[in-house]
């Protein structure tokens, strides 16, 4: 490496340090402590210098690494590890992954905590796959996807608490409602693309949340909806002591009562819902409408000149993407038994978009990897409380440094030659 390059990298990292100083200075450096009456500022410059130092060092290493890959083995091996994950191998990965997911609840080390994390990851995988239809296939950047998640959750909660219908009736209804909202959002944004579309969808997400907060008569406002019925195992509830004339799950199967039964059932429920989403997406990609979505992402004018109706194509993408968001929302509602607008903030949309983009737009397996990576890492650092989001951000930066186009950036063709195994 030339001396000039090193000096250049060093200058660049110093500049990074300057930015880090400007950010960390006030945020970390000036800590407010409440003592008796009022707040007092306690400076903690030591921590600031540590963080800024880390930023400078990190930037310097990245710079040197990109200038000359061989010198820093760690980076290059890590990077090549990542690039060896291709779509070809993804197939084996998918089968192993599904098998693992099926036996996961019965593995010896699996406890309640692992199950909860797994359910959460699967929920995000499902949301990621749902959004992948809109963002990955149709190329419509939707920053308000959480709105459909919320519509699904609230439809489920309201229908289930008002009419007392079972989960299996409410689930499709919630999906239909969410799809309807998808079309509702679709109409005004038909002419928009890219940044402009992103802004409007962002606004739509906020509108739904604000309606949920303020329409007190229906949604119970910020207090949320409580007492949402838990799902039952095809009519058998998960209760220690069932009501008169009812048989509960553990009595029916002659098992000792355990709260894990419900958790395991929820786990399989979301696993099946997620796999249905995936299966549906893989199938629809091979149909004319799915192909039209991808064509629309590539070139709208070419689509028009070939007789693809962009209005219908976009609306179906929005509706179907929203429907799966709605399913995931129903699941969320029945799992939590309590929902409030708090759960449907912008950060949720942002996380789902991050999963889709970092997974490699349009790649189904990429969504899985990104969800495990992002949600898993965030969970691992749960004990560190406020540093959790730093881990989340760090994970995103790592992916973007090593795989700028997402973990799995290759699109898999839907039509193959005879005898062509790939």
């Amino acid at each position: 490496m030339e001396k000039k390059d090193i000096i250049q990298s060093f200058k660049d990292s110093l500049f990074t340090g300057l930015i880090a100083l400007a950010l960390f200075g006030p945020i970390v450096g000036l800590r407010t402590v409440s003592k008796g009456e009022g707040l007092f500022i306690t400076p903690q410059w030591g921590v600031v210098f540590l963080l800024v130092g880390l930023c400078i060092l990190g930037r310097f290493l990245i710079n040197i690494n990109s200038a000359r890959r061989t010198e820093f083995k760690i980076f290059s091996t890590l990077s090549s590890k990542f690039s060896s994950i291709t779509e070809d191998k993804a197939k084996h990965f998918a089968i192993t992954g599904i098998l693992f997911a099926v036996v996961f609840p019965f593995l010896p080390f699996t406890d309640r905590y692992f199950m909860d994390v797994a359910i959460m990851i699967l929920t995000y995988i499902m949301l990621g796959w749902g959004l992948n239809i809109v963002v990955g296939l149709a190329g419509l950047l939707d920053l308000g996807y959480v709105a459909f998640y919320a519509v699904g959750a609230y439809s489920y909660a309201l229908i289930a608490t008002t009419f007392g219908w079972s989960f299996w009736i409410c689930l499709p209804l919630a999906g239909v409602f969410a799809a309807f909202f998808g079309i509702l959002l679709g109409f005004p944004v038909l002419r928009l693309r890219g940044d402009y579309l992103a802004i409007v969808t962002l606004g739509f997400g906020e509108i739904i949340r604000i309606i949920l907060i303020n329409w007190y008569e229906v949604t119970n406002g910020p207090d949320g909806i409580t007492g949402i019925p838990r799902p039952s195992f095809f009519g058998l509830p998960f209760k220690r002591s069932p009501d008169e004339g009812e048989t509960s799950f553990h009595l029916f199967f002659n098992l000792e009562y355990s709260t894990m039964h419900r958790i395991v059932f929820l786990y399989y429920l979301i696993l099946v819902l997620a796999l249905i989403t995936n299966y549906f997406t893989l199938k629809i990609r091979k149909l004319p409408v799915g192909r039209a979505w991808e064509a629309l992402r590539e070139d709208e004018i070419a689509c028009k000149s070939l007789g693809v109706n962009p209005t219908n194509t976009k609306l179906t993408a929005f509706a179907i993407g929203a429907m799966f968001g709605g399913f995931a929302g129903s699941f969320f509602a029945t799992r939590q038994a309590f929902i409030s607008p708090e759960s449907f903030t912008f950060i949720e949309s942002a996380i789902i978009v991050a999963i889709v983009v970092l997974g490699g737009m349009g790649s189904q397996t990429g969504v899985v990897l990104a969800s495990i990576f992002l949600i898993g890492i965030t969970e691992m650092f749960r004990d560190l409380e406020q540093f959790r989001m730093i881990a989340f951000g760090g994970a995103m930066v790592l992916i973007m440094v090593f795989k700028p186009k997402g973990i799995l950036a290759n699109r898999k063709p839907t039509i193959l030659m005879h005898g062509d195994k790939k």
């Binding site: 004319p288 039209a292 991808e294 590539e298 070139d299 070419a302 070939l306 039509i415 030659m417 062509d420």
Partner: protein, 239 residues
Amino acid sequence: MLKISNVETFYGKIQALRGVDLDVNDGEIVSLIGSNGAGKSTLLMTISGVNKARRGNIVFNGENIENKDPHKIVDMGICQVPEGRRIFSRLTVEENLRLGAHANEKGKHFENDIKEVYDLFPVLSDRKTQRGGTLSGGEQQMLAIGRALMSKPKVLLLDEPSLGIAPKLVNQIFVSIKNINKEKNVTIFLVEQNAKKALELADRAYVLVNGKVTIKGPGQELLKNKDIQAAYLEGGAKN
């Protein structure tokens, strides 16, 4: 077959077409030549309904189409090969072709149609599973033409098929266009900057200047026209 009368098209306040009159008869090859910015592509976009005419009429087989949506116009049998090919670059060759048949993919002729395209451009058959974006310029142009043919058009609108393509391939593409016209009986409306080639191929031709048709006549006749020679053929313009 296709009759365009007094069409005016605007981009916002800017007028691109200033009353174009033009007609294309069944089975003909009609060329439209003109320099950059004359409004050639705008006219094609107006015929296919992507841009709407503010004034004037476009009649296709006795039916007014100037207010129809693009996909309706394709269904009626007018398909455009847009300028710059506009291949779906991340989709494979066969996926591109299937999209061309979007309107009638379920139709019983589909398998036969796709075979016809592969017969016309054998190179596409070899590259079926390759991504559109990895083809050369000439192959992409063939793919774009093949894709449009999949919709079984009565009239094929071609926008500068020679753009950015090696001269040798240009000849091949023009031969293919002639074949499509003669053998498949598809009427061709060709827009070109390569005036010499376009005029040689055409039964009749028009010259578009500043959004207006200035000269029209049989292709061979226009080739000999002094003004056209000066402006588009010999010294003046490229090619």
